[in-house]
Amino acid sequence: MKPEELISMMEKARADSSAFEHEIRVCTESGCMSLQSDTLLKALGDEVKTRGMTDKICVKGVGCMGLCCNGPLVQADTAMYQFAKPEHASAIVQGLSTQPVAELLCNTQQPFFTRQKLVVRENSGHVDPESLVDCIAHGAYQALLKALTTMTPHQVIQEISDSGLRGRGGAGFPTGLKWATVSKAGGSDKYVICNGDEGDPGAFMDRSVMEGDPHRVLEGMAIAAYAVGAENGVIYVRAEYPLAVKRLTKAINLARRHELIGHNIFGTKFSFNVELRLGAGAFVCGEETALIASVEGKRGVPRPRPPYPANSGLFGCPTLINNVETYANVAPIINKGAAWFAQIGTEKSKGTKIFALTGTVKNCGLIEVAMGMPLREIIYDIAGGVPNGKAFKAVQTGGPSGGCIPAELLDITVDYESLAKAGSIMGSGGMIVMDETSNMVDVARFFMEFCMTESCGKCVPCRVGTYEMHQLLNRICEKRGTPEDLQLLKDLCGMVKQTSLCGLGQSAPNPVLSTLRYFEHEYLDLVNQTQAAHADQSPAATGEHIELEVLP
């Protein structure tokens, strides 16, 4: 595709869409699809057809609109409908020319919508992810065009560095620095990899980006490849996301057909090819060295670093690995400039972050907020607080690598440093809210079970340590734990954290450590209950005995 063709294609698509009098957009991401939004989309299309209004009303499937718990969501001109079902199709179409359907209306003026700041998700809910034309109408590939035709790779890296963008996969490594390292690495063959192996319990931000705006991810990768000097890209998606795989496959095929990826993009010397690789269901493959091993066709286990992938990654070549959300931030930065991006967020954490709100809150779903928003505002204003008159107890951020933040720390802001200081991490963006009925020891046990079953088994501390910690947490939860068990658990936490090979093991004790830090009394309560129950019984009667093993 030539640069002029992209512009004319955009203008034509915009003219075509403004020819419609009305537009109905139906969320067709996994959440709403599970509530038959695809049937609803078809019903709306049929309804428009039977009324003979196909030239006046545009009906399309779009990405996530955020309020997943009230799905399926439908946007019909200015009205947003919630809990829409196929039988409402006629009323919704009728409502376009008369009054909106009152009983389905969703208030878009509530804080859930007004407090958000959309950068990555600006097109989600507006574009049809399966239509390249629609994406181009909304500005897709403009940033790639700008980067390829008006900027040098060095300028692109400088722009990303100046924006202050940090990796959205969890650790928050400065993206510009990572790109610069890969661009300086020697060797002619380089790779860019997009990490879409989102596996934290309760997290679905990356899925939504891949399902709702796949071209934005491709565009970000292409710009990154241009910046670091790579010609090949790999998108690694977990096979548990079939819809994301389908949409990405379609996006890659369409972009390839229109020569937006391939040889000599926009008539420049830059060539870029992308292939999709599916994970086989291992959480540890989100770790970069394990991911690379998996792409190479090997068993997905991490290896010691250095060498870092930036020097020796996929097939031994310098490799840039970024998270889906990181790549999705690239196009807006190139389009609007580093200065624009840098004014969003805090001093050290720039831009926005998508969070997946789950647990006991009124509004579950996806939100994108500027970094630096206080947790209290997210949980009470945006998420609407804890329902059923229950009291808020803690919020778990960062998945199994993160920690639980108690009510008294709700005024901290969400940015990499504050969350780390509170004993948790930003992580990929899962936010699980728990009310007073949750037992924190049980929460720690849940995450430890997750880490235990997802440990790859390569290093001893993670393989056996997570198992032993899970056993100890089981004993404590079942009121069989002793103070010695609690001490052993603490010792194990330190050892596993310090000696494990990769991030999975190093962070596996975090849920225990953070609950011990803020909710130690719950552990002590359970242990004391064991003591009390056994106080009036002889050790033999309780069935508890100490096993002594003698080594030869």
């Binding site: 235990m452 440990s455 390569k458 290093c459 001893v460 393989r463 198992y467 056993q471 494990s500 080594l551």
Partner: protein, 242 residues
């Protein structure tokens, strides 16, 4: 004319208070062992690629908050390494204790009793008991091969056998299945060893195994069979000669 200087530089560093010089690119483990400083290892074996799985060789490097695996960390100029702090000793003990708790290591009836690297490691680290509850898993013994045997009960998953099979013998018969504590050594596509079509029966895996998990057949208790049948035959032959 002298040739251009080679890319190998010499470095100086300090390990356990001792000033040491080494070549760039050498790992802390290599340099320490060259200088008679003992860093314990189980998965490391000279001649195989570095695995970094046992985590016994973790050392402290001044200025770094993290611990580093000596087998996988290359030396740098001015590095100050500590290999035997009380914390490291404690962690090593815990790791070896966890290995004992993980599977069924019963030294008294093991063919490797007395010359087992795991057992020796426990003695070296002064382990006198195991603080963790034992798992006592039910594990299989693969007795299907004519010449060798795999006893999963005694395996510590150091994967020396997998590495030697792939890297040195080039057969790649052995690999690992499963995750976490359920991970286990397999042959080909998890077939009985005796049915493997890729195994060359070279026996390298047996010789690199640190424990009694891989053994030659005929070495376990009760396996010594006598073959007295030779005698009548021999007598017969001698009589025929005379």
């Amino acid at each position: 004319m002298r040739p251009a200087t080679s890319t190998v530089e010499s470095l100086t560093l300090q390990i356990d208070g001792k000033d040491i010089s080494c070549r760039s690119g050498e790992t802390i483990l290599q340099v320490a062992r060259d200088n008679n400083i003992d860093i314990p290892t189980l998965c490391f074996l000279e001649g195989l690629t570095v695995w970094g799985g046992c985590r016994l060789c973790m050392v402290e490097i001044a200025g770094s908050p993290k611990l580093h695996a000596a087998c996988a960390t290359t030396c740098a100029e001015g590095m100050v390494v500590s290999t035997a702090s009380p914390r490291l000793k404690e962690y090593r003990k815990m790791i070896v204790e966890m290995l004992f708790a993980e599977r069924n290591h019963v030294c008294a009836v093991c063919v490797s009793n007395g010359h087992c690297e795991l057992q020796n490691m426990a003695v070296k680290l002064e382990i006198d008991h195991v603080r963790f509850p034992y798992r006592f898993p039910h594990l299989e013994v693969d007795n299907s091969h004519d010449a060798m045997r795999l006893d999963q009960n005694r395996c510590i998953l150091c994967v020396r056998c997998v590495r030697v099979c792939g890297e040195i013998e080039g057969a790649h018969t052995k690999d690992v299945k499963g995750r976490g504590v359920l991970a286990a050594i397999i042959h080909d596509l998890d077939q009985p060893w005796g049915e493997s079509e890729t195994c060359t029966a070279c026996g390298k895996c047996v010789n690199v195994c640190p424990t009694g998990a891989l053994t030659h057949r005929g070495t376990a208790v009760g396996e010594m069979t006598k073959k007295a049948q030779f005698l009548p035959y021999l007598t017969l032959m001698r009589e025929a000669k005379s």
